[in-house]
C-alpha cells in the first residue's frame, strides 16, 4: 500500500496532502481539502453529483484516484462565484428555478461549465447531451436547460 503527497491547484489555490493511493478524488476534495460543495451521490459513476473540472474537463471525481490529480488544476463549485458575484450559471439556476432539493446542483453546474467552455453557444439538444451524465430527481431537467441557456446568453453578451 503506497501513500503519496498530492499537490493540486484547486479553485486557483495550491493545496497538498499526503494520501493513500486508493483515496478517491472526491474524498480528497471533501475530507482533506474541506470543500464539501462537491457531493457523493451514487458512488457508482452514474449520478454526476461529484462532477468537477480536471484541467477544464468535467469528470466524475468518484471515479478517479486523488493521486491521478497530482500537479493538475481542479475547479469545484466553490470556484464558480467571484466573491459575492454569482457565476452566470449560478444566476441562471436561481433565475429559472434550476433546482429544488439542490443535491445534484454542484455537479450539474460543473458539467454545464465544462460544456460551455467547449461549446459556448450550445443548442438545446447539445445542452441535454451535455448534462446526460447528471441525474436530477426533482426538476425534470426543463429548468436546468433554461438555466444553461440563460448563462450561455449572458456570457455571450460579456456578462
Amino acid at each position: 500500500m503506497s501513500s503519496h503527497k498530492v499537490t493540486v491547484t484547486i479553485n486557483g489555490q495550491k493545496r497538498s496532502a499526503e494520501v493513500e493511493a486508493r483515496m478517491l478524488l472526491v474524498h480528497f476534495i471533501r475530507d482533506y481539502l474541506r470543500l464539501t460543495g462537491t457531493h457523493v451521490g451514487c458512488d457508482t459513476t452514474s449520478c454526476g453529483a461529484c462532477t468537477v473540472l480536471l484541467e477544464g474537463q468535467a469528470v466524475k471525481s468518484c471515479t478517479l484516484f486523488a493521486v491521478q490529480a497530482e500537479g493538475k488544476t481542479l475547479q469545484t463549485v466553490e470556484g464558480l462565484a467571484q466573491g459575492t458575484a454569482l457565476h452566470p450559471l449560478q444566476e441562471g439556476f436561481k433565475e429559472h428555478h434550476g433546482l429544488q432539493c439542490g443535491f445534484c446542483t454542484p455537479g450539474m453546474l460543473m458539467s454545464a461549465a465544462g460544456l460551455l467552455s467547449r461549446n459556448p453557444r450550445p443548442s438545446e439538444e447539445e445542452i441535454r447531451w451535455g448534462i446526460a451524465g447528471n441525474l436530477c430527481r426533482c426538476t425534470g431537467y426543463q429548468n436546468i436547460v433554461k438555466a444553461v441557456q440563460f448563462a450561455s446568453d449572458k456570457m455571450a453578451k460579456g456578462g
Binding site: 503506497s2 454526476g48 493521486v67 465544462g114 460544456l115 447531451w129 451535455g130 446526460a132 447528471n134
Partner: protein, 292 residues
Amino acid sequence: MIPQAFDYHAPKTLAEAVGLLARFGDDAKALSGGQSLIPLMKLRFAGPAHLVDINGIPGLDYLQEEGSTLKIGALVRQAQLEQSPVVKAKFPLLADAVRMIADPQVRNRGTLAGNLAHGDPANDQPAVMLALGAQVVIAGSKGERTLPIDKFFIGTLTTALNAGELVKEILVPIPPANSGGAYYKIERRVGDFAIVAVGSQVTLDKSGNCQKVGIGLTNAGPTPIKATKAEAFLTGKAPSEANLTEAGRLAAEMSDPASDTRAPADYKKAMVQELTIRTLRTAVARAKGGAA
C-alpha cells in the same frame, strides 16, 4: 466505496510501464481512463496489488491518419474521437457509437484502448472495431506484436493480452470511397449499457454490390461477436432488402445472448436481427451518399 489497498506507479515512458507490468505480472493492472477499472475496484470485483497509471506517459494521445490507416494511441479519450473531424467525415459508424458510450464525463476520461482491453461484451467499441477490421498493437517487455481485433477477445473480461502487456495503439483501416457505416443501440436509458447493439460497415463496388462487409454485435454473447456468417453471405451480393434480411437472420443465429435484468434472450436475438438489417440499410445509404 473504498477499493482494496494497492501500490500506485506512475511511469513516464512506455518501456517503464511494461517493465512494471512484467515485474508484477498478474498482480498488476494498467490504468488508463479507469472508467471501467475503478468502478470494479470500488466494488472489489478487482483488487490489483499494483496499479500502473499510464496517463503520465507523453505521446500516447495521437489520433492521426497515416496513409490508409487511422492510428489511435492508447491515451486517446472517447471525447477526442467524438470531437474529431476525421472520425465525423470518414467513420460514421464510430461517430454514431462513440456518443452513445456512457456520458460526457466518462467519455472525457475513458479511452478506446481501455474500452477494448477491458474485454466486456457490453462495451460498444469492440463491436465497432470488429466491424471496421481494426488491428491492436500490443506492447510488452519483449517488444510489440500486432493482432487482428477478431483474435483479441477470448472470453468475458478476458482478452489476448498476457500479463505484462498493454494495448499501445489501435490501427483502423480508413474505408475507401463508396463506404458507409452505422451503429444502432437499444438501451433502457441514455448512457446505459446496450440491451444489444449492432455496428455495420459496408463498401460497395462499382455495380453497387457489397464488396466488403463488417458486422459487430454488442452484448449479444459472452464476448463481442463478429457476425462472420452474415458478412460472408452479403459479400458480393446486392444490398437488396431480401439479402439484408437474410444477413440479419444469420447475425442473430451467431448471437448467443443470456437472459438478464435488461431483457430475455429471445428478445435480444430478435433485436440483433432487426438492428443488423437497419444498420446495414443505413450503411448502404451512407455509402451511396458519397460520405465514407
